[in-house]
Amino acid sequence: MHQRESSLTSKKESILSTHAVLRNTYLLLSLTLIFSGAIAYFAMVTNAQPVQPILFLVGAFGLMFLTQATSKTSWGLLSVFLFTGFMGYTLGPILNMYLHAYANGAQLISTALGATGVIFLGLSAYTVTTKKDFSYMGGFMVVFGLTLMIGVFLSFFIPAISIFISMAFVLFASAMIMFQTSMIINGGERNYIMATVSLYVSIYNLFLSLLRILSAFSGRN
């Protein structure tokens, strides 16, 4: 009897802790998306120059590693805002480029943004309501992600493959949203800062890849 009670108590504690991680993740994700959007808007208004690809890679990976290193301390919150602010700043010139290069640039951006929202909300809602465990995807998601990164570098040498890389990125980012949400729900992820970074990067990649695909199929010069 006593054993059963203690088992029920520990189960209840685990569920409460999972809910806390999920709530904190979504709260921090909303704040970082708003912050990142504001920085992107600032970069657009001030006509900021595009960040050099090498500087972007060093900045993005450097700040991501900094966030991972500080994720268990309160400094993690500062580094997550630094990271998302940097990503937002790099987004501004890209959006400006789409607005100037395409006659329907604003329409392309709003459609890509809408589709990103629909995909994110749909996949999150599916994973949260079904509570399906996608942990079996973990190993292959790492392989998929690393292969995609190699593909990104190849696309600098062979630009023709960049559209296929964008298509693969849409699939990867969507699968990552499902995987990360499932990890939070099933107790595999206890750190809300790392969960936020993972979801933020997925949303960022999903938006940019959708924008690239939509401009290739529907962009009017």
Partner: protein, 63 residues
Amino acid sequence: MSTFETIAFAIFAGFFVWLLIRYVRKNPTMLTMANFSKTARSLAFLAILLILVVWFCVVSLNS
């Protein structure tokens, strides 16, 4: 693309190839055939849904 950028990108690509090989060698228990088939099925289902979303967006943009 400048020579410096070409070399830097080649180094970055080489780093990711090394990471990939290292990961595959060190995690044989996570990369099983059963997990692969389940992952492939989930990704295929997801791909169909995403194609529908993109198709809907393209049609609405072109109309």
